[in-house]
Symmetry: C2
Subunit: 380 residues, 2 copies
């Protein structure tokens, strides 16, 4: 029945013609990649007057996939017909009937919203609305109500064609992946880091997922999480990079020897950022993403984050920093990572009973020198 | 009618007795400061069994103020009476009648939810619910419905007292200001930075607001914004610090001379962070907060944020980094800063036509040396 999906997108940083084209091209590539990866057939993808049209006979399936492509604000499965009043009327009626059945309503309230994107059609938008509305009223038990309606019939006209639709499916918004460069994200297997990765991806960033090995159970879990996140990653999916830190034992031993086990967690995070920094530089990534939320656990303090941040000159992006746990969990559930994050993981035998709450940079420096024989900051 | 407000709070990092007491004390101080600042009289504030009770005859006014105190999850204006079934019944009926009138319902559906916080009361919670429910049914046109109800009558019992309420007002959650240390926030007068400040405050941070002077109009606007933000700042309100950078002219001249005006914005932000860094260190603040959202304007890129981040070794917190403009505007409207952010401001005569999109650190270093005769990073 439908033969096209109308893709609407939102913000573009500047409105220059050149930037718009660049943006649209990346978005079209991501759409293509999404449909091909998910096996949804289509005939053509084209940008037209601030919209993207996906010609396909599998509009329903396409919408389900494209809902997860960032940069898209809303989607409508639509029928493209010649811009001819009779054809528009008949198509509108057909879609109206279908929707009425779907909703199971005796006498639905409806309105028609028409827009001439290009102006060659002889009737103006309010006239089109009146004509189509009348036609539906004549042929189907119904009632017009502009403010409270069960069904909205949309008619968009451009380049000699009319696009008729009765659904507008909201997507995530954000920016197309690939428009904003690359960052490394540290994935731990917990609830927070996948949400942090998701939010950065939503802003158009390609993320390179890095996991610091803790054991097989946790690794398996992180693989599942990354596979889920990839469903939002059309346009830039890296493979999970797993780092197995060989100096872990040495650090733990030394800290134990010095009676400073309480610094284990800070040291561990510092080392994670050091690995992330190296990988970022190898891959040309411009930042590191972490799932920190202030004060969520007692040791997630400004002091400890200060220490950890010294491991790299790259900016550390913490999109969850201002969120409550409840808000983070809500997003995790919506994007399908929550369940995975609660799967069992390897125990950390080296986690100290009382991790340091407000670590001191001076003390950390001394410990770093004791363990590695050198200062923690590269530059100095 | 009401004589107490029940204050419920949420997450506390650890559950140790000591941490809980510390957390409650800070929250009680913030509550006291809020009520005193807003002239709401009260008799006593006390922590009891995981709740805080504010004894006051101005419960309505207190709730309005306390809604803005972070760390609080929900609030109920309540009546405290002796834990005696007859008194509980009569009070519950009185509150029920009042709520029924307020809602204008003929035969409201209701349920009673009872909780024994301490267990000395002879009846168990389900029995209390049954008794109170019966009493209301006998005396007032109504109907019990446990799942879909218009009114919920709450009864909490502790230490020989009963607390009865019919409203539960949601507050912002988060953590009490003062539990998480201090950060400096750069307030520009735009829509974003006040929202960034708000979100950090919500996570229990005391913010020190810094504005880099642009002109009188903008300054006046930023003062209004900060006055609005202060309404959420009980527990730690700094005064606005205004910096008037004297080297601005020199930078602009030099950039013009070198034909590198396109670096003006990056330079400007770099200098802002340098000032924020100095102020942070003077005040013992552990981070800098900025309102950056990736790709919101063409020049808000990972590359430019990398350069700006080099101006300080402190972590830069960007709570909006993963948000769309629409989401930021929604919060700005809820917290009352949106309107203020759209007030007129001074024009920036030195803003370049084509700001650099992806600034190069190497080039920036050279420019910095040309302007100041030294490397941009302190440490090297």
């Amino acid at each position: 029945m439908f033969n096209v999906v109308i893709v609407r997108y939102g913000e573009i940083g500047t409105k220059s013609r050149q930037t718009r084209r660049w943006f649209e091209n990346i978005l079209m590539n991501n759409i293509r990649e999404a449909l091909v990866s998910e096996g949804v057939e289509f005939k053509k993808i084209e940008a037209k007057h601030g919209r993207i049209l996906v010609k396909t006979n599998r509009a329903g399936g396409a919408v389900e996939v494209l809902k997860r492509v960032f940069g898209i604000v809303s989607l409508s499965p639509a029928m493209e017909v010649d811009a001819d009043l009779e054809k528009i009327n008949k198509t509108a009626l057909k879609l109206f009937r279908r929707k009425k059945r779907e909703l199971g309503l005796e006498k639905p309230r409806f309105r028609v919203t028409a827009r001439r994107i290009t102006k060659e059609f002889p009737l103006k938008s309010p006239e089109i609305q009146a004509k189509v509305g009348e036609y539906i009223l004549e042929n189907e038990e119904s009632e017009v109500n502009l403010h409270e309606y069960d069904i909205e019939v949309g008619v968009e006209l451009m380049d000699g064609k009319a696009y008729i639709f009765v659904d507008k499916v909201r997507a995530w918004g954000g920016l197309p992946i690939g428009t904003q460069g690359k960052v490394v994200v540290l994935l731990s297997g917990g609830i927070d880091s996948p949400v942090a990765a998701f939010l950065m991806m939503k802003r158009g960033v390609e993320v390179i997922p890095v996991h610091i090995y803790m054991g097989e159970k946790t690794l398996e879990k992180v693989r599942k999480i990354w596979n889920q996140l990839k469903k939002y990653g059309y346009g830039g999916k890296g493979e999970l990079i797993v780092v197995n830190p060989k100096e872990r034992e040495r650090i733990l031993e030394k800290l134990r020897e010095l009676g400073k086990e309480k610094y284990t967690c800070v040291f561990c995070k510092f080392m994670m950022v050091k690995y992330a920094d190296k990988i970022a530089k190898d891959f040309g990534a411009k930042g590191i993403v972490m799932g920190d939320s202030l004060g969520q656990v007692a040791s997630q303090t400004l002091e400890n984050m200060y220490i950890v941040s010294q491991a790299s000159d790259l900016p550390i992006y913490r999109p969850l920093i201002g969120m409550d746990k409840e808000e983070i969990v809500e997003i995790a559930k919506r994007i399908g990572t929550f369940e995975l994050s609660t799967l069992p993981e390897d125990e950390m035998p080296f986690a100290p009973k009382h991790p340091i709450i407000r670590g001191s940079w001076e003390e950390f420096r001394k410990l770093h020198k004791a363990v590695f024989g050198e200062e923690p900051r590269r530059e100095c």
